[in-house]
Point group: D2
């Protein structure tokens, strides 16, 4: 007649979970708990680890050679199936490890059951994730190298192209575009160093740490480590399964590199404005407007600039997740992968886009040179000349220069267009040799001390860089 | 005979882009630029906005009634197609707005071309995103309310269940489990307040702000605003297209709520440990071990605790992306959606999981009470008695209490098990009335000042809370 | 003869702690544990709370009227002493509460010992910190209002001053400077709303929650709440002592406001560049160069832009600190104050600096107008005219406009300088009425739909804003 | 008669700035612009740089030997004065560089004016800050080493002390306390590696990059670099003055190390709870309660746990500040120092406090062992025995073990207390040899594979660690 209390409760329960979770707690738990949605990305790494583990178990007489061969062949089949898209991903089977293990069991039966000896999911996932990160560290090093190559190539072309050097975004002194681009070469050089250090530090194999305490099986962890090109096995099993430093360090390195990308991207946006007019955007990395056919929007540069937020967000995410976790493995750590996967994906994309933009750079040398010559940008050259040639003290030379700049400003001319006589009214010892430093070309040519903007320096830096990139 | 320079260049170009971008710059640009991969989530909001816009354009005699009807009917068809999964998403067609517009054009022809009058993608996406967020703000308020309901229900059941109250995670004073749970009710109450304030502040309609400057068409922005249940149109077109405060405020509110979730999740993990033993984990939100059938791992609680990292990561991501952007729309802002989508998705999931865990809470009242009685947790009750009954100054009462606790410690007994004579050796005026405050039940019962842990207070708080949730 | 082991151990211990901690563990503990170095800032709030508490205790017959009077008078003396700089801050006495209590005991003796009845440091510090934050919320609301006033005043002056409106930092359509400045008025309006919501939500009094469980003394928490202008006492004692939402919400609001400051600061830096030349920097907020007297660096704007990092840093700091803390009070929470104090200090400073920069804004109207007219910025006006007057569909009008822009570009002229005949070659129905929309002045004047950039709209918005600021 | 408009304006201006800035814009600008409040910390580094620069200028015949000697002697005097606290810090003189230069001019007159040849404040501050960071990197490496020493020493003492190993904070398998502590040794080892890599990467000298473009003076940058023990001069002047990677990388390394500190601190808090009872807190790093003399609050551990928030906050602060800054120097970068100074200060303090806590660790071995034996923690040992001795497949052994655990649970006994006959009912091949692996001592002793928890492994790891620390 009337619904039982139980029925009503069930209904309420269902409505309580709302549409998305209308199936009740089981659906919620499966959705929050299963990692297969993202960790399937590591299927190759998981299979590599299992191959190495099987070979080692056999070498240590823990499983038979027959089992080993069956397992290794079976794993090959599983890998091929996944590559062909034939694996059915099922959230009920939680993660990539269980998917592969279950499929292997279907293929090779009993031998599969022996593969899990002397390991657990805790050391397995730590190994897979390290392998994945290591592969990406290598790939990203390559991408950074290509970006550096693009910078070098443009720097070489523009070793003598003059542009304004800014401080506070105010014209300060002329520099060369080549020198400016080589500043980014240096930044990406440090970025590669950080990635390399991260790789070296993380290249230890957790496999065989088992759940957390190590194992009593007489395994040879050096053998598995070496089979996967790790430098050595990790030294402490508790640390091995609860350490995510490598991911944090990776994200830190990407974040810092992202800052560099955001800076050059910001400059591209700025230089492409009409008032600056320093460059014409490549069609390939900008979008147009049907209504203003001449207009180009620097979309790719803006997106690269924005992405640093994503990198830093990923870093924060994992730092916060790891905060205060007692040893050893806690499920919290499952939240390590998505931020890393997303950041690496976006970082690769940004590097490719920036490489494309640099390759296609179309600087407007005239506009750059004109801007470089404004704002009395060679005033410091004048002051340096007064010091060098007339032997004035630096602070005095500054004062005299200020007076001469004021004179030029009142006359509405640039320094090189002032009459010698006018300058001599302020400082009688000035000779017409001074004109040799007042043009922007003379200015940049003179900055020959190591690291300075002189074209010859730029060419030398390019040569060194080319050698380094070999 | 030999490859042309051009061929070589193309080859190099290809190899430069590597596997993922082997098709060259076009593939890179499409991948970084297209938002259709994620903004398709807003198809209903986009269609809603277009319907409202079409109706308004007709009411203002900017398009004909016939066009309006065709557009609105056509949009209905597009919506149905998308819901049935019939739309083909094509990265070349960038975003959800273009997909819908293009399909509409196929269906209704020329009328579709007139729909875009007096709007642009900049105000359109701002409107869609606000609508999406507003819908989620409402849904999440509902989810928080359900979680509060679960807390209230358990608090009512456990209004008299005694447990240790901790400071520094050291037993300090006995409290009731109901009181403890109601502390979280208060936190989620504030969270709902923050979501409500965010909703009220963001409920202004950007549509009609056009690209950035507003429009010269005689449109009625109040009409579109009202059709989408916005309180009013935004007041400044430049602000309207470049504002993402609503997303930042939403992510802030989620992050703070995430802190609350991390705290209760941490307590569940802690209470479920063997040494604490305060509760038995629900099967529904824990995982077991084939090898240790009695073991339950608090996976869901750990994952909820971890997810706060994701929320805070998303907040940081968008804050950083928005930093220092000049007005008005910049493409950087396209990076606003993914962090919000992901955080909202995970937050919903965490609320559902936490509600399930609270619903299923199986406290071990004996273990809680035993722990509550340890550590001389009623020492402050004794001190308060000395003040209240004997009229001692607070600091003096503290001193006497300290002496009595020392005595109990030396005797290896709890305070309520000390002999009166022993206490009188320290303070002769103590009478046997003192025993009325030395048990944990007496202690909690005595904390009747507003906000205190007394069972009657908890019941009263539950009653108020129930009314609030109506 | 030889040093004893003990002596050696002490030496080692000392050397172990190094210079800074050469006194050993005691020095380390004192330095990490004492908060007096920063919480002395809250001495007025602490004394206010004690006054209210004493008055309430007497009203509830928990202490005598005589004690109350002695305490309140004594507190007045302590406050005066601190204001005169006569208090000696001693890290050994940990925090501001103990300093004031100890000094009060010296002054009034026994009565001071009774003041601590029915409260603890946990509810005391929560009360002090809320009072401090509330005071700053009010002060900052005032500062934001002054900044809004400066924006309104400039917007009114520049309601008709034309400048380029940018998307992607590319000239898109002309807007007015007044409209642009009013966009920031809107942002700061929302910021004030967030601060007000934070204030309303946090305005509950924790005092009387005692250590964590409430109290058995018959206190009147509504009385103390009301004496300190709180809306009500907090409802749950555990929550009251472990809640820092108000600080998190405050820092969120400052961070979002900091984003707005970073945007306008970035624009000031940009507009002050030589290529843009949109404004001349005020001497008061820029620095010069002895060598280039004409040069002005936008230091204040750069620093304001940079400070948003500090705000977001502070927010992250406290979010991370609060993550996963079990109830109730943990010492971790002592790390709440320094980030808030620092962020509030810097935010006040940024608001003052930005107000000064806006007050002193010296726009170069000619440069702005010239830039506004470049890039065929009235192309959308032309398209809109084709729609409005000729009844063309929007997409068709776009196509025709594109053709006309191409024509102008080939001729090297602006749209308004094209011959009618030339336009008619592309679309014969165009009449000379079209010229009424092709100038930048006509363009901005035409954007009269609500929220658009038309001077009349700006004036109306300013009028509304003025009324709101009353 | 009436106040002039000017007077009124001044009044308004004053009231506008409010109390803190009542002196008007000048006070605001000075407060936001001056860095002397914090950069005075780098006075030694600044003087070191000036000494090296003077020596080089003389060696390159840019200044005379007499000037050099006067400058170097004068700098010695300035340094001594600052060390004696005799320097008056004046915000009007902005920064440490100007303070030292001005005082030097007073002392040595004209020679001081020549010191600034071929350098600027931009390369000077970059040099000073690197020197300061490098010094701290070295000091912190020392502090970490001392902390590692403390861990090793305790690990050696507790190589055989058994405790529960946790996953999900559930008892999983027995481990040794020594092994657990050595996990932290490994973490701090990686931290030292990160600091060392940061040091190696940043050890390049920016001095001589001048304002941004390098210099035309024939300086020898290798000489100054070498005089300050830099490995080489920086290669690009634009990069040299605008790079803050070293600070970002430093803060990243501190943040990751802070995560480690937060984990061990959390464990100390947890282990010191009454239910765990794994350790007794040292008096030196805990605080007591006058009312509960037996109570000890783990304040230092909680504060160390909390401080990671500050580290990550500092990292975020600087990342955000650096985002999107165009080259070269911008004033934004002045916001680099305070976050680094504060984080380094707190990190040093945390290391000292943690070292003290480890030194004083008083583990309760009985409680640990009792807890280790609960929860059928040797179930995996049983399963491994079934595999190893009976040759069962891992998954089958798991199943059998699960059955036996169920039996034990039903009987309310631990595994080692089950009768052999009972086990044989489930798996007849089990012999009494099985008991050799069922005790916690046997379990830990058996985990001898590399990295496992066996006491012998711990001792070996300690021996290796000791050698590394030499």
């Amino acid at each position: 007649m009337s619904e039982s209390k139980d029925t009503i409760d069930k209904k309420n329960a269902n409505s309580m979970w709302g549409g998305r979770f209308s199936e009740g707690p089981g659906a919620v738990m499966q959705e929050i708990n299963a990692s297969i949605g993202f960790d399937q990305k590591m299927f190759r790494e998981d299979i590599w680890g299992s191959r190495a583990h099987a070979a080692m178990l056999a070498a240590c007489d823990i499983i038979s050679a027959g089992d080993r061969d069956a397992i290794i062949e079976g794993l090959g089949q599983v890998e091929a199936e996944i590559e062909r898209g034939e694996m059915t991903w099922d959230p009920a089977m939680e993660d990539i490890h269980m998917h592969i293990e279950a499929r292997l069991r279907e293929i090779v039966g009993g031998a599969a059951a022996r593969l899990h000896t002397a390991r657990s999911r805790n050391d397995q996932v730590a190994t897979d994730f390290r392998l994945w990160c290591r592969g990406k560290l290598d790939a990203l090093d390559g991408s950074l190298k290509i970006l550096q190559g693009a910078l070098i190539s443009q720097a070489e072309k523009h070793a003598v192209t003059v542009m304004p050097g800014f401080t506070h975004l105010q014209t300060a002194q002329p520099v060369t575009l080549g020198h400016h681009l080589m500043a980014y070469y240096e930044m990406f050089h440090r970025d590669r160093g950080r990635l390399a250090d991260c790789r070296a530090r993380m290249n230890e194999c957790p496999l065989g740490s088992a759940a957390l305490a190590g194992t009593s099986f007489p395994i040879d962890r050096h053998m598995t480590a070496s089979a996967m090109f790790f430098d050595r096995p990790t030294a402490n099993s508790l640390d091995a399964v609860s350490d995510r430093d490598f991911a944090l360090e990776f994200l830190s390195a990407i974040s810092i590199a992202g800052i560099h990308l955001s800076r050059i991207a910001d400059e591209i946006v700025l230089w492409a404005t009409t008032p600056f007019g320093f460059l014409t955007l490549s069609d390939k990395f900008s979008t147009g407007s049907s209504i203003m056919p001449q207009k180009r929007n620097p979309d790719a540069a803006e997106l690269v600039r924005a992405k640093v937020g994503r990198f830093v967000g990923a870093l924060n995410s994992l730092l916060m997740t790891m905060k205060g976790l007692p040893l050893a493995y806690s499920k919290d750590m499952q939240e390590d992968k998505e931020p890393v996967f997303a950041a690496v994906h976006d970082f690769e994309l940004c590097l490719a886009a920036m490489t494309g933009m640099i390759d296609d750079l179309k600087p407007n040398a005239e506009a750059m040179k004109a801007a470089a010559g404004g704002g009395y940008s060679t005033a410091t050259d004048l002051a340096d000349w007064l010091v060098r040639v007339l032997g004035m003290a630096f602070r005095d030379a500054h004062h005299v220069t200020g007076e001469i700049v004021k004179l030029a400003e009142e006359g509405g001319v640039q320094l090189q267009d002032l009459a010698l006589a006018d300058m001599q009214k302020i400082e009688p010892r000035i000779t017409d040799l001074v004109f040799s430093v007042l043009s922007v070309d003379a200015s940049v040519a003179s900055r020959t001390a190591f690291g300075g903007t002189a074209p010859d320096n730029v060419k030398a830096a390019v040569a060194v860089a080319k050698e380094n990139l070999q």
